[in-house]
């Protein structure tokens, strides 16, 4: 077992660099260390200027998404031991603008997420004393998978379509729209259809399927998009045959 492992980290300091460069740090190898531990070791003891996002260290907050040896990963769940003997290449997520070192700007996703209205929409809200909305375990089961999304952006970084067509709403936002569409308490599917079935919505997706592969929470955004294609196509056929029925 090696005593150290080399970490090759992408650095981008906008005040002095034209483009990212790689800097190599030799970090102690420990069996129970993840890539994030190694980055924190560098920040604490070697180079305090190294910049990256992290928070929970347990795969819940979705902050520490980076590319490890070319694959989008949550660095808090990526063990050094899986990449021996190294060097381990750590880069910022693809397709988002890099702010500094390993930090990317997520404003584009935040704007798109809001567009798909990821909240429960009711035509009429009953008064609170009528009680809560009831839901059976089977009804919960239809959307629960999509509700596990932690907005870590690994799926966007894995999606070449998002890279080539930046206007694409993207995997996580569509999966989250589907999470509310399939919720028995929600009545906003028609409102979301307008955004999702437009050019930049589901039809941009050509089913590369990498979003599902890299998802650390098994959300299956690719599945959500394909299922929604079926829904949108059915809706379109219905609107042709029964124009008065889909209004």
């Amino acid at each position: 077992m090696p005593s150290t492992v080399a970490l090759s980290v992408a650095r981008y300091r906008p005040e002095r660099d034209w483009e990212p460069t790689f800097q190599t740090y030799e970090v102690p190898y420990r069996k129970d260390w993840v890539v994030l531990d190694a980055l924190n070791h560098v920040k604490d003891t070697v180079d305090g200027s190294l910049t990256f996002r992290w928070s929970c260290r347990m795969g819940v907050c979705g902050s520490c998404g980076m590319k490890v040896n070319g694959t989008p990963k949550l660095t808090c769940a990526t063990f050094l031991s899986d990449y021996l003997p190294g060097p381990i290449r750590v880069e910022p997520l693809d397709y988002f603008p890099v702010v500094r070192d390993l930090v990317v700007d997520l404003a584009d996703f935040m704007r798109k997420l809001k567009q798909v209205k990821p909240w429960i929409i009711r035509k009429e809200e009953p008064p609170p004393d009528e009680g809560e909305y009831l839901q059976t375990p089977d009804q919960l089961d239809t959307y629960k998978q999509f509700s596990m999304c932690i907005n870590c952006m690994l799926c966007y970084s894995a999606c070449p379509i998002y890279g080539l067509e930046p206007s694409f709403i993207g995997p996580a936002a569509i999966a989250l729209a589907q999470r509310y569409n399939m919720d028995s308490r929600d009545q906003g599917a028609a409102e979301r259809l307008k955004i999702l079935s437009e050019h930049d919505g589901i039809w941009q997706c050509t089913f590369v399927g990498e979003c599902t592969k890299v998802c650390p929470k098994h959300v299956d955004p690719a599945g959500a998009i394909q299922q929604y294609k079926l829904t949108a196509a059915t809706h379109w056929v219905k609107s042709l045959l029964l124009p008065w029925g889909t209004r």
């Binding site: 906008p14 005040e15 070319g70 059976t136 070449p160 990498e210 299956d220 599945g223």
Partner: protein, 138 residues
């Protein structure tokens, strides 16, 4: 003017990486995806050959005989083999992806993926068997 990059606190200079035209060679699944997209060309090729066959058939036995001779030329044999392999790749990859798009629920429970994939393959086998029966009967 300074030679260094322009940077101010409130207008940070972001770095945007361009997508390389060779992005589809970056990993195996991207390459697989592009190949799967490419299979549509060969599916179209078979459709065109079928139309051509129909046209030759309508023009009479002589034209049809000529059509068959042309199909036996080395060029067509190679083209047909390549196209067949691509169409096979097309069918297999799409059948395997079918459960992602088709979520069937029976009495509230989701039908397992292998049942969806299996029923697609079963339908493929039955239809191919029926076609083979019609063709080989005489």
């Amino acid at each position: 003017m300074s030679a260094g990059p322009h940077y101010t606190l409130y207008h940070p200079r972001w770095y945007r990486r361009r997508v390389s035209v060779w992005w589809w060679l970056q990993n195996r699944s991207y390459t697989g995806f592009v190949l799967r997209e490419l299979t549509s060309v060969f599916v179209a090729f078979f459709a065109v050959v079928a139309l051509w066959q129909l046209r030759a058939f309508a023009q009479g036995p002589e034209a049809y005989g000529q059509f068959l001779v042309r199909l036996r030329t080395p060029l067509f044999l190679v083209l047909d083999t390549v196209a067949f392999l691509f169409v096979l790749f097309h069918a297999i990859t799409w059948f395997n992806l079918a459960p992602k798009a088709m979520v069937v629920r029976l009495s509230g429970k989701r039908v397992p993926d292998w049942v969806i994939v299996g029923s697609n393959y079963a339908a493929w086998l039955v239809l191919s068997g029926a076609v083979a029966f019609v063709l080989l009967r005489g």
